[in-house]
């Protein structure tokens, strides 16, 4: 659950970008960081391997202003997508308030999306959290690759594959060009804050 500091009137909300390796989680964060740089006081922390893959997580805190007199500080994290780093992924999920699942639109990666979503469900369950209840947004990334003639899964196909049971908000996006990156972020923040508000009532 989010951390609420009554004294400083501050709420810290933890949002985690989850998804298969090379799906664009870090690129999402990089775009947000660049876009809102003047509003972000700290540097983006990235713990990477030599090959530029996320080893631990990427992180930065982001102030989004006040709600009912409380300052809302959103802490954005990514997880390493590679299958072998599951222990790390699980650690980063601790205390999560909202998840953006970044799915890869490339037809070749269809199976990776299934496996990663299932892995998210298992890792949330380790913290007694239910994937059907936690604030969650799906992002179908890399839509821009269609222009380069790369075969992509249609949005309808991806909705059917990943969202037929979950029925959560979803966006077709391109983290490289920034298309729908900010709407994805706004959506998860609004759902996470609303869910927190509900929980506190």
């Amino acid at each position: 659950m989010a951390f609420i500091n009554l004294k400083k009137k501050e709420v810290q909300v933890k949002i985690v970008y989850y998804g298969p390796g090379r799906g664009g989680k870090t690129t999402n964060l990089e775009y947000i960081f660049k876009k809102f740089q003047e509003r972000i006081k700290s540097d983006m922390v990235s713990i990477k391997t030599h090959g530029d893959r996320t080893l631990y997580f990427d992180f930065f805190p982001f102030d989004i202003g006040k709600i009912k007199g409380y300052d809302i500080k959103v802490n954005l994290y990514t997880v390493p997508g590679q299958v072998k780093y599951n222990a790390t992924r699980r650690l980063v999920l601790q205390g999560v308030d909202g998840v953006v699942f970044v799915a890869d639109s490339m037809a070749l990666r269809r199976e990776h999306n299934f496996l990663s979503l299932k892995n998210l469900q298992e890792n949330l369950a380790a913290y007694n959290k239910n994937i059907f209840k936690i604030p969650l947004v799906l992002q179908y990334n890399k839509r821009d690759l269609a222009k380069q003639g790369i075969q992509l899964l249609t949005i309808e196909r991806m909705e059917k594959d990943l969202n037929s049971k979950l029925k959560v908000p979803s966006f077709g996006a391109s983290a490289m060009s920034g298309e729908n990156v900010v709407p994805t972020l706004k959506k998860i923040i609004s759902i996470a804050v609303a869910s927190l508000h509900k929980e506190l009532k």
């Binding site: 659950m1 989010a2 951390f3 609420i4 500091n5 009554l6 004294k7 810290q12 933890k14 006081k41 700290s42 540097d43 922390v45 631990y56 997580f57 992180f59 930065f60 805190p61 007199g69 500080k73 802490n75 994290y77 222990a87 790390t88 650690l91 980063v92 601790q94 205390g95 999560v96 506190l200």
Partner: protein
């Protein structure tokens, strides 16, 4: 576990941190949870560090160290210390859910600091409130505001 600190408890925790740690020359001290949230912080007024990132990394780091402990057959390692040239960092677990981080210079002795950290951890445990009480406090403070 869900936990909470009310305003009175937070004031108390911050005064404990100040009296026991800042007053002996520690530069910064933070109480964080294992999700990387900062619960309380206190510094000597000269701190320029990015404490939110530090808290996120410290929580991740401690998680990794705990995983290492399990590999060698320990339940967990309860403290960690990183020595720097002019500043060092000491991490100590408080209960199962919190981490006390202290950043200090060469003028503070590690042994003395460890004794103080142990004292602080005991005092903080007494200040813990649980979720139901936190919510009651929050509702109280909201109705006060109305």
């Amino acid at each position: 576990m869900e936990y909470g600190f009310g305003q009175k408890e937070l004031d108390r925790v911050e005064s404990i941190l100040k009296e026991e740690l800042i007053d002996i020359g520690v530069n910064v001290t933070l109480l964080i949870d294992m999700a990387g949230n900062i619960i309380a912080r206190c510094d000597d007024g000269n701190c320029q560090h990015d404490l939110y990132s530090l808290a996120a990394l410290a929580a991740g780091n401690f998680g990794a160290v705990n995983a290492m402990a399990q590999i060698v057959g320990e339940e967990n390692f309860t403290l960690l210390f990183h020595k720097g040239e002019s500043e060092s960092i000491h991490f100590s677990k408080v209960e199962d859910d919190f981490l006390l981080i202290t950043i200090f210079g060469n003028d503070v002795s590690l042994g003395f600091l460890r004794l103080r950290v142990e004292e602080v951890a005991k005092k903080i445990k007494d200040s813990l409130l649980y979720k139901t009480m936190l919510l009651a406090n929050l509702l109280d403070s909201e109705s006060d505001a109305d």
